[in-house]
Each structure stands twice: as structure tokens, then as C-alpha cells.
């Protein structure tokens, strides 16, 4: 089942990065330090497994800021459950990429 899916460390890092608010590919690259050839394929597989979902930013927002529109990613409910399991499996995950709540503490 999806909730019992065991993720690789890289995939878990990407999930953790998205959970911390890095919602597009390049910001995940910056947060994790992983190259583009690792991050984007991993995100495709996570999306295929319905752990993350994507949506395009509204064009009007991008136009207002004079930049191209970006594709944003967010965790699904299944992704959140899987991330919880991965945090137990990889205890250092939250230290490497602290979540917003952890940062505020």
C-alpha cells in the first residue's frame, strides 16, 4: 500500500524539502544540494506515485512580476503519511532540512 511505501533517502529529502516550503524544482535543488538530473526525475516518480502533486502558477501573477510562470509542487495526503514514515527511518532528515516549525523553535 502507498502508506507503507519505503522511499530512498534522496526521495525522502525531496519530500522533506517540499514540506518545508520549497515548492518548485530549482528551490529544491538549492535546499538539498542535489543536481537537476536527480531532483526532477525523482519528482516525476513521486508525482507518479501520487505522493506529490503539481500545478502551474497563474500566468497573471508571473506576468505581474515579469518572469515566466513556474510549476509548483505540494505534498498529497499520502505523501505526508509517507514522509512521516521516512522521518522515522531517516532521523537526520529533519536536521538536514528543518521544517518551518522547527526553525521557529
Amino acid at each position: 500500500m502507498v502508506s507503507q511505501m519505503k522511499l530512498s533517502h534522496t526521495a525522502a529529502m525531496i519530500l522533506q524539502a517540499i514540506d518545508t516550503g520549497c515548492v518548485y524544482g530549482f528551490s529544491i535543488m538549492e535546499m538539498t544540494g542535489l543536481p537537476s538530473g536527480t531532483v526532477y526525475p525523482a519528482m516525476r516518480r513521486l508525482e507518479r506515485d501520487e505522493l506529490i502533486s503539481s500545478r502551474w502558477e497563474r500566468q497573471s501573477i508571473a506576468d505581474a512580476e515579469q518572469r515566466p510562470a513556474r510549476k509548483y509542487y505540494k505534498l498529497t495526503a499520502a505523501g505526508r503519511v509517507t514522509l512521516e514514515g521516512s522521518r522515522k527511518r531517516y532521523p537526520l532528515l529533519q536536521r538536514m532540512i528543518p521544517s518551518e516549525e522547527a526553525k521557529s523553535l
Binding site: Y24, F26, S36, G37, V39, Y40, R70
Partner: protein, 499 residues
Amino acid sequence: MNPALRLALGGMNRVFLHCASLLVSRDQRADWRREWSAELWHMRRSCPPSELLSWKAEQTAAAFCLGAFQDAFCVWGIRRQNREIAPSQHGSAGECLFWLAGLLALSWILACVLPGVYVESHPSHYQINPGLVLLQSDLFTDSSAATITGQQFLDLKASRQRGIDGLAFYRMTKETLSPGLHANPMWTVAHASFNLFALLGGAESFVALSSETSSGLPSVVLSDELWKREFSGNPKIIGSVVRVGRMAARVLGVLPRGSWRLPGRADAWLLQPDTEISRSAVGYVVAHTTRFGQAEIYDDRLHINAFVTDDPDADLWGVSFDERTRGPWTIFRFAVFLAFLALPAITSVSLGESCFSSHRPSLARNLYRWVFLSTKIVLLLSIAYFASLDLSYWNATGYSALSEYAQLASSFFICLFGMRWILLDQRERCPVCLRRVTHPAQVGQASRTFLAWNGTELMCTSGHTLLHVPGLPTSWFGTQRWMYLDTSWKFLFAGTGVG
């Protein structure tokens, strides 16, 4: 860094992205390229201004773009996996319609190629004036036999007939027909009254009837076959003089193939005045009936008292030509009517829609199912029409009674057994996805029929339904039933696109 070099390197990055995007399927390509272009733009903007024009920034951008190839490979792999686990098209509604459409296209192409079908499917070529009948002696039963002598025709024409206002005579002979004096093969020539084609009607477009007596010579109308074989299809032959037997005649026109629907097969029609008609020769008489005469036609037959000189008691029958000019569409409609009448005799007309629970597919699904059934029927009828014409006129170049019977029989059987197949096929299609149910499994034992059901269970490979067909119909389980599967069955069909 040189701005031109920087521009070239930027172009190279875009080429990288473009090349990588070719690995992505066409429907995903635009979206994929848009995302990578946007990411590249943001990546460049993230560089500190001090490094913006440096080699390091360009290296970083190039490495970023090279990563696009790995991503494109990944998208391509995911796509291929999805295709492998997606349910195949085998047994789907689309596959069924595809094959039916293929058969229709094949039969239609054949119909376009076969000359006999072409002639039959253009009724304008053989339409004749309404109210025409073929007169025959009541001593003969064969409607295609020549039964009336030239003398009888002349007597009939001289007598007053309230039901008839036009008469024409023709008889068949074997004669040579050539442009010159040299010997030629024999052809069947119909010696006919001048007014034959005027009476038949529809010939004005290809026969110059008004010039029939202007030259003082008899006129001849050629058949399409004779024109092509003897005169090599030369259009300049019209108006020239040819020899018919020992007689010179002027060519009036060429009759299109399939236009001649009257009894007797002729290669040419020699139009002569009534005074030239041989009184002893036996031939055919065509008559045009008045309104009064048409009112007296019963069962396609009109009774006429001949009052001829040599046999005052002889009676004639006028047989309507409707049978010969009704065209293939009328025959096909009749065959379809017969097939639908006979259908309940060979199969149940039920669609087998009963189910175990009160669950019913949505209105849209029901509509989809009915549209599919209607499409199948329309395709089958179209196939039956063209295929029956192909079979009937495969070897014929025009009308024949045998071809008509062949068309009636082939249309009937194609429609009858085609409709039977359609109903059987529809009963074995999942009401939700219209895919054929498969994997038959025997359930229960025949010896325990009254304790538990026995029969065959089939399943929809998309996981929507199970079909139970009783092996031995009983009062409590007489016909097939559908069992709709709820979401608890979903995991069994995981990976086959259930949803």
C-alpha cells in the same frame, strides 16, 4: 565574458533542452519544455550579479540543462510503464467499431470498383416513364418471353383501347453491325418502333430523338458495350452511317450501360416505322397506360382485351415494369424488414441488463451504451447494403433477375446473422466500460442446481463488473445477471487503470 559568446552558450543550453524534450512524448512535450525553460530562467536569476557573466555561471547553467536529459529519460520510462500496464484495446468498444468501419470501407471500395454495382446504384440511368407495362399473351406464363406478333401489335394499335395511349414494338434478331462493308461478328439487334425510346423516357439525354427521320435513313441506337468493342468508344460515331445487316442506318446515340431494363438483351436498337414491322415475327410490346388503365392495375397486372383479327378471344396482360426499376435500395429495405421479423426466431432480443442489486449505471453510461449499440447497427446495415451489392453484382455488368434475388438473399442473411452477433456482443459487454467480459470460470455443479447456482462467471478486466450466466436456467435464475463491483475490489485490479 564576451557577450556574443555568452549568447552562443545560452543558445546551446536551449538546444540541450530542445533535444532532451524530443525524448518526451508529444502530448507532454510542451508542458515539460515550459517547466524547464522557466526553471532555467530562475536559475540564471539566482546567480549573484558578480558571477552573472562568468564561466562558472555558464558551467552551472550547462550542467543544469544536461540534467534535463535524465529527466526526459525518466518521463519517457514512466510513460512506457504506464502503457504496459494500461488495459489493452482488445475487446474494447473502440476496437469493435474499428473493425466494423474497416469492413464497411472495404465493401464500399469494392462497390465503387465493380461496374455492375455502379450501374445499379445510379437509378437515374435506368428510370423509365411511370405507367409503362409490357403486354403479353395470357397463353404464356414466362414474363420475359416474346409472345406478340407484329400483326397483333398493329391490330392492337388500330383498335381503341381506353386504358392505353401509347404502344411500341420490338423484336430481337441476330445481324452484323459495322461502320463499313467488311464482315463483322453478329450482334443482337432489336428492330423497334420509332417511338420506343420516347415511350420509355429518360433517353433524351443520350439519344437525339428529334432527328430520327430527318435523313430518311432508319436510326440505330448502340449499346455501350457494342460502341466500345466495335467502334472503340469513338464519340464521333454519333450521326454517322453504319450498316445493320444489309441496311444503312444513322447512329442516334449510345445507351449507357445498365439503362435497358426491358426483356431481351440487345446490342443495338434499329428504330423503324410501323410499316417496316414484320407481321409474322414475334416480339415484345410496351404500352403506356392512361389514368384509367392505371386504376385497373391489380397486383402489378393489367387485363386488356385485344380484339385482334386472327384470334378474337385472345386476351393480353400488361405487366408493370416497377419490378425491374425499383433499384437496390428498395430490395435492401425489404430484406432488412424480413431480417428484423425473423430475428426473434434465432436469438433473444433482450440486452441482458438485469443485475443482482439495485445499482444502475449512470444516465451518461446508459446513453453511451445505446449510442454504441446504435452505431454498431448503422455500421452493420451499411456493410450489409454494400456487401450484398458486391456479392450480387460481382460478375454481372448490369441488371438481372438473378442478381436481384442474390441481393435480397445476401442482404437478408447478413442483416439477420449480423444483428444476432450484435445482440450477443452487446450482452457480453460490461455496462460501465463496454469492454467484453473475459476469463470465463465454471461455478458450481450441475448436480446441485437446486441448492446453488451453477453456470459461468465472466469478469470485466477493468474491474467494474462480473457477469453470471446460468448453466441451467431456473425460475429463480433464468437469465444472465450483472454484479457491479464496489471499490473494495479495486486492489485486485490495481495497475489496470481501474477508477
